[in-house]
């Protein structure tokens, strides 16, 4: 396949960026999208040009490091797929493909397609854990958990933290990401003890980081590569309201 790529190039956080057009030839339909970019980067390097910086690591769809806004959609045109698991057979010979970084004020661009998602880590640090030290814990079977609850908690826990939900949202809201952790831990007995402070602190941090409000349009869940459900946002809202109504934690 021969393609035309329009790629966002930006030297660093301070400089202005722009779209640059690159023709590319002889792409195999069996290549992944990132392998196609590898090929382009090898060409650029041989020509003495700076290759395009993009984030990626496991290339198995699980680490959440790859991003890319492809033809106006996070992770490209395939549903339920990360960019590293998107293959070129979903494009046609002669296509023009537009590639941009995640677009959100809370995810500033480091370079080209690489953005800073450390805001997500800071939200988790605000309470996305069970406060338990190593050792001195009860036997794992001491607290039975019904299978349906364990399964539901697991569904929420599978969030890979890639940020596609933020990129898809017109308000750049992080509600889907935050709600996944909040509802996972709120469902499990281990996480219930500090559920109130957790949801209050995580929501507060989300605001501090500059993510927008939820607009209830559901673009986040539609574009989520691992299918995190909107139900989690409902659970988080309920957790948040009840925490606020009965809060011991004045913040």
């Amino acid at each position: 396949m021969d393609l035309t790529l329009k790629v966002w190039r930006q030297k660093n956080r301070e400089s202005a960026g722009s779209m640059v057009t690159y023709p590319i030839k002889g792409i195999s339909p069996d290549m992944s999208f990132l392998e196609m970019l590898d090929v382009l980067n090898e060409d650029l390097l041989r020509a003495g040009q700076d290759p395009i910086a993009f984030d990626h690591d496991c290339r198995e769809g699980i680490c959440g490091m790859c991003s890319l806004y492809i033809n106006g959609r996070p992770h490209g045109p395939e549903r339920g797929t990360t960019t590293c698991q998107l293959h070129m057979r979903h494009f046609n010979d002669g296509d023009t493909i537009t590639i941009e970084p995640w677009r959100a004020a809370a995810f500033p661009v480091h370079k080209d397609l690489v953005v800073d998602r450390s805001a997500f880590d800071r939200i988790q640090q605000a309470g996305g854990y069970v406060s338990v030290n190593t050792g001195g814990v009860p036997d794992a079977n001491a607290i039975p958990i019904g299978k349906s609850i364990a399964d539901k908690a697991f569904d929420a826990a599978t969030c890979i933290g890639c940020g596609a939900c933020v990129a898809a949202c017109k308000n750049a809201s992080a509600m889907l990401f935050v709600s996944a952790k909040v509802s996972q831990l709120a469902m499990l007995p281990q996480g219930k003890v500090e559920a109130k402070t957790r949801v209050e602190n995580m929501v507060a941090q989300m605001d501090v980081e500059g993510f927008g409000a939820c607009s209830n349009t559901g673009a986040c869940a539609a574009e989520c590569p691992v299918g995190i459900s909107l139900e989690n946002i409902a659970i988080m809202n309920r957790e948040y309201l009840s925490a606020k109504a009965t809060s011991e934690h004045v913040a």
Binding site: E35, P51, C63, T134, A157, Q184
Partner: protein, 644 residues
């Protein structure tokens, strides 16, 4: 040099408890006077950093990814072993210990492996307490499944994403300590050198991957938890960023590198499809519970299939060779990884491989689908089938999967004693980064176990013993040793940036990968290894003459990052070949063609090679020096591994 493993005296089952009592303690009020550096934030690193922070030490944690949550431990699929015996099927700490020692072809240290089996029990408790959503039975108790190389159900799992859930558990514990201010996290930061003061590890030099700034960090002890070095093969199941640089540069500062040639080749990966390919994807070993492995019975049929003259469905039942079931009736398709891998290679070498390249065998679910129905198979393996279809564009419900072995896990690593300390005082290595627990072959579901055992339950005890015996005096980064190491790192970066040759870093990396795979891969022989040694040396020299690295240091420079890593892989590759060459026997992931039984099984030589090969660096291009740690087996009898 004397390799003192510091294995405690006494009966196997009492060694760890006794040792815990005998180690020196650091008074809680004094812990805050000690700084500890942890490099890498996968299962071993994140759990260690979190636990050391909880204890009161000041921890600095480093990772090259943008967040500790991305570490490659997250990609592990199958599960984590623990000798809980919840299934009442006869499991015990001793049985887990025994299976691990046997599975590793008797090239692991008994005391370490026994401790691993002991603390495996605590790991599950710890993770559940953190809110890790393991699979549960309807009654609310934890579910288990079985894995290759074991005959009990001791594997705890969270669907096919166990590594993800365990890492997120450790990441959350780490986040809690970051929030408390006990751990300071440095993401997108790569360690480029180890700093020694008075013969002790006292800090590291790092490159900030965003700004390119070279910085130093000092501490009282340094823990490396940087994972394995499988990417020396270019194609592997490792994440693209996984590298050997931190461990290798510690090796160049004097840390011994042990058993580098022990590479685990995982039997069920999606085959290579073209030269552009950047990595290999593993299909969980659990598929072999229902999938039957076969190739055409004759070379002629295989050729016709490869040419497209016939389809898979045209091959009659009697023309199919279910070779694992034929050769190993007791374990069948569930033989351990090294045995399954080697046999797939044998079939392809005979010319009976399938797929366009002829480098694949079938993993066929037709019988299972006929027996249980497609919905039942989809419920068990649905996500794996989808993943296969996404990558290959073939429907595995209709046609058998094509699989081939691929580089997966490295059992070698930095040499450590029972305390997980390298031969450099104050430098520790945990998880896949060390060599100690898996011998020549790793059994399924035991990598996650070792990472968390080391991080949560071993290093927090043993590091205190060292700190208690060493003064709290701080070394600052103004010390000349730091300045010297920084200068060396800067000089190396500048050299890479100034070569301005014609070949790209990936180009060199791929060529190295081909040499390693062809001559130091699933099978090795003396002649091939000698040849490879020369080839790698030539390639390394060419790299430093002709590599092309563009850009400058003072920015995000992906080519410079890769160039540093590949420079180290080139040196490490040579050591792996050297190690494979001196080990005149076959064991686990190390198969020397000259040493095999008449039935093509690995032939160990316990008389002469029951030792850990620990190599000392003597300069680039110089012959390394081999030190041996004899392995003593007092609790298991060394026998030929048989799965017939």
């Amino acid at each position: 040099m004397i390799l003192d493993s510091k294995i405690p005296e006494g009966p196997l089952a009492e060694k760890w408890d006794k040792h815990k009592f005998n180690v020196k303690l650091v008074n809680p009020a004094n812990k805050r006077k000690y700084d500890i550096i942890v490099v890498g934030t996968g299962l071993a690193g994140a759990s260690a950093a979190a636990t050391l922070g909880e204890l009161g030490y000041n921890v600095k944690a480093f990772c090259f990814q943008d967040s500790p949550r991305r570490a490659h431990s997250i990609a592990a699929q199958g599960g984590i072993n623990a000798a809980k015996n919840y299934q009442n099927d006869g499991d015990s700490i001793f049985r887990l210990f025994y299976d691990t020692i046997k599975g590793g072809d008797y090239r692991a240290r008994e005391a370490n492996v026994y401790r691993l089996a002991q603390v495996s029990v605590n790991i599950i408790d710890q993770c559940v307490a953190q809110g890790v959503p393991f699979a549960r039975e309807y009654g609310g108790l934890l579910a288990n499944r079985s894995f290759g190389g074991a005959q009990v159900s001791r594997t705890f799992y969270a669907r096919g994403q166990t590594g993800q859930q365990l890492l997120l558990g450790a990441y959350s514990a780490l986040n809690r300590q970051i929030a408390y201010g006990k751990v300071k996290m440095y993401p997108r930061t790569e360690m480029l050198d180890l700093v020694m003061v008075d013969g002790k590890a006292r800090g590291i030099v790092v490159r900030n991957l965003i700004t390119g700034k070279i910085e130093s960090h000092s501490a009282h002890a340094v823990v490396l938890a940087t994972g394995g070095y499988g990417n020396v093969f270019f194609l592997s199941t490792n994440a693209m960023g996984s590298n050997a640089t931190a461990a290798w540069r510690a090796h160049k500062k004097g840390a011994l590198f042990a058993n580098p040639c022990f590479t685990q080749i995982h039997p069920t990966c999606i085959p290579v499809s073209g030269e552009y390919q950047s990595k290999l994807t593993l299909m969980s070993e659990s598929l072999r519970n229902d999938g039957r492995v076969w190739v055409p019975k004759t070379v002629e049929i295989a050729q016709r299939l490869r040419k497209g003259e016939i389809r898979v469905s045209d091959i009659k039942e009697e023309d199919r060779d279910y070779y694992l079931e034929r050769k190993y009736p007791a374990f069948g398709n569930l033989v351990p990884r090294d045995v399954a891998s080697r046999n797939a290679k044998l079939m392809c070498d005979e010319g009976r491989g399938v797929g366009a390249s002829g480098l694949a065998v079938f993993l066929d679910f037709a019988d299972a689908i006929k027996r249980e129905g497609q919905p039942a198979i989809a419920a068990k393996y649905g996500n794996l089938f989808e993943m296969y279809e996404k990558i290959t564009d073939e429907n595995p419900y209709e046609n058998p999967m094509r699989i081939y072995p691929a580089v997966h896990y490295t059992m070698g690593g930095l040499w450590v004693d029972y305390n997980l300390m390298t031969n450099i005082p104050g430098l520790y290595a945990t998880g896949e980064c060390n060599f100690s627990d898996h011998g020549a072959n790793r059994l399924g579901a035991s990598a996650l176990m070792q990472g968390l055992a080391d991080g949560y339950f071993v290093i927090p005890y043993t590091i205190g013993d060292y700190l208690a015996q060493n003064p709290t005096t701080k070394v600052t980064t103004d010390h000349p040793a730091f300045k010297e190491a920084e200068q060396a790192v800067i000089a190396k970066n500048n050299q890479l940036l100034s070569i301005n040759g014609t070949r790209t870093v990936d180009d060199f990396h791929k060529q190295l990968g081909h040499i390693m795979w062809d001559y130091c891969g699933m099978a090795r022989n003396a002649e091939g290894l000698q040849f490879a040694k020369g080839e790698i040396r030539k390639l390394r020299e060419e790299f430093w003459r002709d590599v092309k690295v563009v850009g400058v240091n003072e920015e995000l420079n992906i080519t410079l990052e890769k160039a540093n890593r590949v420079a180290d892989f080139l040196e490490l590759g040579e050591l792996m070949v050297e190690d494979a060459l001196q080990r005149n026997e076959s064991c686990g992931g190390h198969f020397r063609e000259e040493y095999q039984t008449p039935e093509n099984e690995a032939l160990r030589d316990d008389e002469n090679y029951a030792y850990v090969a620990a190599w000392e660096f003597t300069g680039v291009g110089n012959e390394p020096v081999l030190h041996k740690e004899e392995l003593k087996f007092e609790n298991v009898k060394l026998t030929q591994r048989s799965y017939k």
